[in-house]
Symmetry: C2
């Protein structure tokens, strides 16, 4: 269904490129989270448990690819990628808590509060957020500092009450009332979309790229972000838990409005494909150097977990 989007060869190459970047991000993350000697060691163990050893690193990959496209150095992009992955990890740790989604599994392993305990998981999430901002603020020069303040501002907007956390709050409220399609779109534009949009535009911010370039990457990020969530709803409704590495079917069982409950499985699949095509269209001003991002848009809607 997607031969028009990317050739099989491009997809093979994307897999290798994703793995390579994920490995590099993992190395940077491990170095950014050294274990201390004192009794506070436990919280850093929990931070490492949550942040290391898994995950596709899609958000980090977006930053690294966007930075390469815009000419920002790879080392700084990898550190920003580690930041966004720490923030993503914190959000998963807190989302999995009994008072929130109450999930026992994450990436096929016990969730952080199951492996440690609730208090440690709350603290580990808190400290992962702190560390994410700390890493972004590490500036070499005054010009670099100006870039970093812009990056932190965008990062905070994407993750706070106007972004990820706001979306999570809407999601909790959605358990009480039925949402229509526009409300579900807005929920996901905040809950998962905001951080994906930030990741797509972060490379342009790091490179201080022209506004038009930043806008293209932002629009690309907006569409793959929604595509990602629509595909997630499809997977949640169709894939077994052992493939997902997390508890499946929970949203449907809870009676929540999802893209699948509103559009049906086939309708949701078609919407995901439409969004992936729209995302690719936003990259029209780039040459073959944006092929990995194009292939990623396809991957977002084709993935099996």
């Amino acid at each position: 269904m997607n031969q028009t989007l990317a050739e099989p060869g491009a997809r093979l190459e994307l897999g290798a490129r994703l793995s390579q970047t994920a490995r590099e991000i993992e190395t940077v993350l491990a170095a950014l989270l050294p274990l201390p000697a004192g009794p506070e060691r436990r919280v850093v163990e929990a931070m490492r448990y949550a942040a290391l050893g898994g995950g596709k690193r899609l958000r980090g990959f977006l930053i690294v690819e966007g930075a390469a496209l815009c000419g920002a150095p790879r080392s700084g992009a990898l550190r920003a990628a580690a930041s966004v992955e720490m923030l993503h990890a914190y959000s998963l740790v807190h989302d999995d808590l009994p008072a929130m989604d109450d999930d026992d599994l994450r990436r096929g392993q016990p969730s952080c509060h199951r492996r440690f305990d609730e208090a440690t998981a709350i603290l580990a999430g808190d400290a992962l957020q702190t560390r994410a901002f700390e890493v972004l603020a590490d500036a070499a020069t005054a010009e670099d500092a100006a870039v970093r303040c812009r990056l932190i501002t965008a990062f905070a907007l994407a993750s706070g009450a106007d972004g990820m956390v706001g979306g999570q709050m809407i999601d909790m409220e959605g358990e009480k009332t039925r949402f229509d399609l526009d409300q579900v779109r807005r929920l996901h534009a905040l809950k998962t979309g905001a951080l994906i949009r930030f990741s797509a535009e972060a490379g342009a911010i790091l490179a201080d790229a022209p506004v038009a370039v930043r806008d293209s990457l932002l629009a690309y990020g907006r569409d793959i972000g929604t595509a990602f969530q629509v595909a997630d709803d499809v997977l949640d409704a169709t894939a077994p838990a052992e493939v997902l590495g997390k508890t499946a079917g929970k949203d449907l069982a809870a009676g929540k409005s999802t893209f699948v409950s509103l559009l049906g499985i086939d309708g949701a699949r078609a919407e995901a494909l439409r969004l992936a095509q729209a995302a690719v269209a936003h990259l029209g001003s780039f040459g073959p150097e944006a092929d990995a991002l194009r292939a990623l848009a396809v991957h977002m809607v084709e993935r099996k977990s």
Copy 2:
């Protein structure tokens, strides 16, 4: 006992100065936390509930006074003060959670998760931390941005796994083993001390003051931070809950090591006084413009709540 530290007049003036600054910080905080229209409004209501309407704003006061001492503009100092108070509020919201200290009362009111619910309290704490960093990153020029990156770095160090959160983790571990005096000192140097030290030095960072000035304020902050905690342990062991505005005697009842359990009530009071005197001594290079900070050191060990 403290006529050598500050005259009664200075203490009266401190009270008025604290109230005035607390009012200004409150106004800035309220403006930084506007209520949105969508269903995410609930999390911002919880953020405002936790951050507004109370508290002595001691940390914010330290920033404002330190900034005045070093010649940094008051408007920027008030925004940084609002940041540190948002971070402090987030830490109280998460500390009060059932999985942590399980406190029903805060400042004489229901704690955030009692007034709202656990999920909302977790999210409100998360978003308060995010907003705190966002406000600090708001730079006007490249030089200002360099200052702000240094401020964010110090702020993150004070609040993450090497600071406040690490201290909270040590505190939880302390429920399992008895700590000696050095371990209790280190626990509080991280848990409450780190953010107080940051607050004391933040004005010097904002003003890009000489290292010697920054070091003096940092040493002052270190000693009032410990004095504050020692006095807190004394209050926890002696004051009734309706005066404290929170549940009293919990640490002693839980069998935790505290300054009071290790030094006795009189020994702890003497230690607090010694620390306040040491804090005042670190301000020796300043003239009467540091009198408010001197009076604050006395207030820390004299306060009744």
